[in-house]
């Protein structure tokens, strides 16, 4: 058992994961790079087996970088025990999806979005507290998750993965419920869509926006979110394509004076 190799793996995850991310196999080479210390040590006397293992870890891999640690830890421990490579591969593939889902939701969708929106609201009042407060609140959890995620999973083995995912599952449900409240609020607070159309009826002018507000406040904002959501999910548009769409629609509506 080597503590040194797993520490190296954790550092590589923290400093260089995704450096060689590419369209063909996403984080395959990055994963392999993290595994090199363990592989080199375990198979130094067996070059043929080493080649086989190197190739096995150079296969498609795509996971949330913050939550990849447990997978690296557990596969390192398995490699040291020279577990059959097919077993290791199927474990990697089996864990990558669920951990990516939990990690993306917890870290980026909920934590980072809320933290940075809060920071931005301070910064809009011209306060440097905004950017300064988010730095430690991002660095500490993301660092600890990656470092201890790797080393603890290595030491405790498969049982720790089950515990980690069970605990995360619970936190994720709570975070999802909470996140939806924030998302509902943000659709009205962040999307600025107000129409300046008005009608003249006799001597009085009626602003369409006032009528809309009486019906449902922020209706147009919610409508734009809904259309974007449908384009992403039903029409399977890429985010960039949706943004071009919003630019086009917003530009035309803005130019003719509807918005």
């Amino acid at each position: 058992m080597s503590e040194k190799a797993i520490k190296k793996t954790a550092w590589r995850l923290i400093t260089s994961f995704q450096a060689c991310e590419n369209y063909e196999r996403e984080q395959a080479y990055d994963y392999l790079y993290c595994m090199l210390p363990t592989l080199e040590e375990t198979y130094k006397d067996d070059p043929e087996e080493l080649k086989k293992r190197l190739k096995a870890h150079n296969e498609f891999f795509n996971c949330n970088p913050i939550f990849t640690g447990p997978i690296l830890g557990i596969t390192s421990a398995m490699e040291e025990n020279k577990v059959d490579e097919k077993t290791i591969q199927s474990l990697k593939v089996g864990l990558m999806g669920p951990l990516a889902g939990i990690g993306d939701t917890l870290v980026f969708t909920i934590y980072i979005s809320i933290l940075f929106s809060l920071g931005a609201s301070f910064a809009q009042q011209g306060s440097i507290v905004g950017p300064l407060m988010v730095i430690p609140l991002t660095f500490i959890p993301l660092f600890l998750c990656r470092y201890f995620g790797t080393t603890i999973a290595y030491k405790k083995g498969m049982e720790s993965i089950e515990k980690i995912t069970a605990a995360l599952d619970k936190v994720t449900t709570i975070a999802q419920e909470f996140g939806l409240v924030i998302i509902g609020a943000m659709s009205v607070l962040l999307v600025t869509a107000k129409t300046s159309i008005s009608f003249s009826v006799g001597d009085t002018t009626i602003a369409l926006q006032d009528k809309l507000d009486a019906l449902l406040p922020g209706l147009l904002s919610v409508l734009f979110v809904f259309v974007s959501y449908k384009l992403l999910t039903k029409a399977k548009w890429s985010p960039v394509k949706v943004l071009f769409f919003l630019l086009g629609v917003g530009f035309v509506l803005g130019a003719i004076g509807v918005l």
Binding site: I14, A19, C20, E21, N22, E24, E26, A28, Y29, D30, L36, N58, P65, P98, D104, T109, I112, S113, F116, G119, A120, S121, A123, Q124, G126, I128, G130, P131, V134, T138, L142, I161, T165, D169, Q176, E177, F178, L180, V181, I183, G184, M186, S187, V188, V191, P217, F224, V225, Y229, L232, S238, P239, V240, L243, L246, L247, G250, F251, G254, A255
Partner: protein, 256 residues
């Protein structure tokens, strides 16, 4: 026009930001809030860095490269628009109007970098075949260069020559064009929110979504007020779940 020194400093800052997004994740410097703060310091205009950065931060909330997806490059958009606004004396609205096309244009540099890295992936295949661990170790750090150059070089060019280009455009384009771009920018946050929604079980927990909407639209509560009300709602839900003895369900995918 910006000096060559400032342009280089901004290009290096853009490189640091993208490396932080991809690799280090020290503090997600790539988010407009922090990228803008840094650019503001370099340009000697911190207030501009804060206002432009925080506006673009909120405009891009929820936009994240999930699964390595290519997304509008708000990082470089923030840096370039602050730089050009400093050089040309453009106001806040002008810098947002610059940021939007830059964010869309710069997505192509991400595609270039992701494509170029495929080259290393194929070389790695060859080294695996040979069992050449040393070469695998040596080659991987070259990936840093891909990312640093993919953003550093275009940001340098945009900062150094951009004010000239932007001045020319501002002279030709009538005022209404910028107003219309600004209006379009107002609805941009819809994308980030839609991306967030896509990640969430909105159908199952629709009531939380409505609660947030009502608190913001009808009660006009601030961010902290909404957060506290949200905590209450989630707390009550979890408490009632526990009393019924049905905690959150475990995912079946993990039963290996």
């Amino acid at each position: 026009m910006l000096s060559i020194g400032t342009s280089i400093a901004l290009a290096l800052w853009a490189a640091v930001c993208i490396l932080d997004l991809k690799c280090f994740k020290i503090a997600l410097l790539s988010r407009p809030l922090l990228a803008g703060f840094g650019a503001g310091i370099i340009c000697g205009n911190i207030p501009l860095g804060l206002t432009v950065g925080s506006t673009l931060e909120l405009m891009s909330m929820g936009i994240w490269n999930y699964g390595g997806a290519t997304i509008p490059d708000y990082t470089c958009a923030t840096i370039v628009s602050i730089a050009i606004a400093t050089a040309t004396g453009t106001d806040f609205n002008g810098s947002i109007a610059i940021a939007i096309p830059v964010a869309l244009l710069f997505t192509y540099f991400d595609i270039l970098a992701m494509t170029y890295n495929t080259f290393y992936q194929h070389k790695a295949d060859k080294y695996c075949e040979e069992g050449n661990v040393k070469a695998l170790e040596r080659m991987h750090p070259l990936g840093y260069l891909t990312w640093a150059i993919s953003r550093g070089l275009p940001v340098f060019l945009a900062c150094f020559f951009g004010s000239w280009v932007v001045n020319a455009i501002f002279n030709v384009c009538p005022e209404w064009v910028f107003t219309a771009i600004g209006k379009a920018g107002g609805i941009f946050p819809a994308l980030g929110i839609a991306l967030l929604l896509k990640m969430m079980p909105a159908k199952k927990y629709w009531m939380f979504l409505i609660l947030g909407y009502v608190l913001a639209a009808y009660f006009d509560l601030g961010f902290i007020g909404i957060t506290l009300c949200g905590a209450v709602a989630v707390g009550i839900t979890e408490l009632s779940k526990r009393q019924q003895g049905q905690g959150p369900q475990k995912t079946k995918a993990l039963d290996l």
